[in-house]
Amino acid sequence: MSRPAHGPLVADLVAALDPDRVHTAAGDLWLYRHDASNLTGRATAVCFPTSTAEVRACVRAAVRHDTPFVARGSGTGLAGGAVPPEGAVVIATSKMTAVRSVDPVNRTAWVEPGVLNLDLTRHVTAQGLHFAPDPSSQQTCSIGGNVANNSGGPHCLADGVTSAHVLAIEVVLPDGTVTELGGEEPEPRGLDLRGAFVGSEGMFGVATAVCVKLTQNPPDVATMLLDFDDVADGAQLVSDIIAAGIVPAAVEMMDQLCVRAVEAYIEANLPVDAAAVLLIEVVGLPAGVAADVAAIRHLAAARRVGAIRVAADDDERALLWKGRKSAFGAIARIKPNYYLHDTVVPRHRLPEVLEEVYRIVERHDLLVLNVFHAGDGNLHPLLVYDARDDGVAERVQAAGEEIVRVSVAAGGVLSGEHGIGREKRELMPLMFSDIDLAAQAALRDAFDPRRLANPDKVLPTAASCGDVQAIPDGAWV
């Protein structure tokens, strides 16, 4: 294979890794210009290290040549986190996929960052364990990406998102040193640098191994599908359940358009005439599960629930979950393009914010499907459209930004699980003052004084800017 002439940076990378694992051909770089968002960038080289030492070599080479670098897992991020900064070295973890060790009694495992989320759970299923964070992308997203984005999933309601399931992280810091943050022990000395690293979107270094906490599989599970004639009733029930002291393992909502799309796609006998459905899962020991199910039925009756379908067996349970998790595939039948948002509002504001989302979308003459983690108040309005329609991109963008603003104004936040990335960095001032942002910038500078680790993410362009700037082209908001 003939290689184009490259500068000293690529020469250093090639010297450090097997040359076959340093890709610089235009076609290869093209593949890595984006993640699952609509944003794009441009890389100088894509490297596939197989060890911590090789990751370190990549970071050191980038730093030596004053070039930004970005870690990349599976590229399923929705906020542009893994989109390469101009000319960056992409450090892809897809060849670091070993589960280094599992301790089934203390329920921990050391894994490399390229291990896929669902593969980890499959690896420990025989021991009656699973990795609790279960993003809808769990078949394809990596543990490294989960750590960097502090990802969540339907079953994070009761047990918390990724940070609650990470004990220690081996990292290559932005200056090329290797260290361990956190520890297997419960109270490592010093600041919780592990906690600071989780959710830092690749800006505090590259994770090369992660010690995760594993969770026992529950002895009993009840999965219920409740339908409602009014979205607000369903949304209100979510607050009622939590206020009554019940924390189900998962509480997911789908509205009518979404249920119809899914039903057409998988034929699960879903209630297509309902305005909305709630998928609720309660887990634990049998008496507790039975008591929770009874209490939820009681509360639901007061909110005018229609039918309540309880999965009779694991097959039916799997079918109901398939309905929830195939929403993204299903929408392709409605319109060719979609744009997924991610904000959080206090649960008790869900009914009114949902109303507002419908109004915004109508005003912009768009279609929205709502399929989201209702238990956490984590909205995922999914705008579906046909990119070939005139002016639709602008409308999608405008509607998205309004949804974010409405959520924050209702006492919510910019992102519940997808992160800020490049997509929402200019919206950070909606939540944080200049002083607040300066504190975040200070933490970043402590980890990365030279600002070479994925530098164009999270913090607004001018971390001191007082107003919201223009949103980048192709951003999802």
Partner: protein
């Protein structure tokens, strides 16, 4: 935010050494340094959100009594003030089931070294907007800023909560029981706390020959150490004093003081130096204290 936060910020002021204290159950203020006290009082309890907002000077006991009236509780250990519990970051003995203190802080307003009020985190139970500054602050012993107002994650009280005793191997119980709240071990006897529905507790206890007891063991408080849970048995084997180990967690409570001799990697020390330098360049906040000591 309330005016109490602004008053607190004014008290901290932009210069001169200053130390913060709650009720001094965790070491108290730095000696011979001007003392400030964070705002007191509960500001909002929202059971349907599983959150509570209060001044950092609020006693944990008071917070828990208020939450109990709403059927809720919080993971902080029950002594001193909320700010102190967060600044030290030590978890309670039911960490096995309910997690560490560092997972409880959702949002905070702190007074930084410049005297400014700074907001970190977000008010909702789920949030990834910006870096996770809240976890950085839990366990920072007041060296990066003084907490003024905090919003904590709460959780519902269990239906019932009971202690049991067993003579079985503690790791066997850990492996077999479904999500016990605590498994404590003194080298011979194992105590287990089970939370949940009465029938479930009885069934679990019967299956593992556990005997109901009224109280947990007395937790010694002269020393505290932290170990990988897989090394607990080895770490306690040669102890000549009384201890209680948290099985599955790795904390050991000692009847004698113990010295923390765990090494800290140079890179971690360097990160601490850089963070402190950026948050408190003149070293005025809780001078002499360090999260590493």
């Amino acid at each position: 935010m309330s005016s109490a936060d602004n008053d607190f910020a004014a008290e901290v002021a932009p210069s001169g050494p200053v130390t913060v204290t709650g009720t001094a159950t965790r070491g108290g203020p730095v000696a011979d340094v001007r003392i400030v006290r964070p705002p007191y009082g509960i500001r909002a309890t929202q059971a349907a959100e599983m959150t509570v907002t209060c001044g950092a000077g609020t006693p944990v006991d008071e917070l828990c009594s208020e939450l109990e009236a709403h059927g809720q509780t919080v993971v902080l250990p029950r002594s001193g003030t909320v700010g102190g519990a967060l600044a030290v970051g030590h978890s309670d003995i039911d960490r096995l089931r309910y997690g560490p203190v560092r997972d409880a802080l959702l949002q905070a307003r702190y007074v930084g070294a410049s005297g400014d009020l700074v907001t970190i985190g977000g008010p909702t139970v789920k949030n990834v907007s910006g870096f996770d500054m809240c976890r950085l602050f839990v366990g920072s012993v007041g060296t990066l800023g003084f907490l003024s107002e905090v919003t904590l994650r709460t959780r519902p009280l269990p239906r019932i909560s009971r202690w049991w005793r067993g003579d079985g191997e503690p790791h066997e119980l850990l492996a077999q029981l479904y999500r016990p709240a605590a498994v404590l071990w003194d080298g011979a006897v194992t105590w287990v706390r089970l939370d949940g529905a009465a029938d479930d507790l009885d069934a679990q206890a019967a299956r593992f020959d556990l005997v109901s007891v009224d109280e947990p063991p007395l937790i010694p408080s002269a020393g505290r150490s932290s170990h990988p849970p897989a090394e607990l048995v080895a770490a306690t084997r040669d102890l000549e004093h009384q201890f209680i180990a948290e099985i599955g967690v790795g904390v050991v409570h000692h009847a004698e003081p113990v010295v923390d001799q765990r090494p800290v990697d140079d890179a971690v020390v360097e990160l601490h130096r850089r963070i402190k330098q950026r948050f408190d360049p003149d070293g005025r906040l809780n001078p002499g204290r360090s999260p590493l000591s």
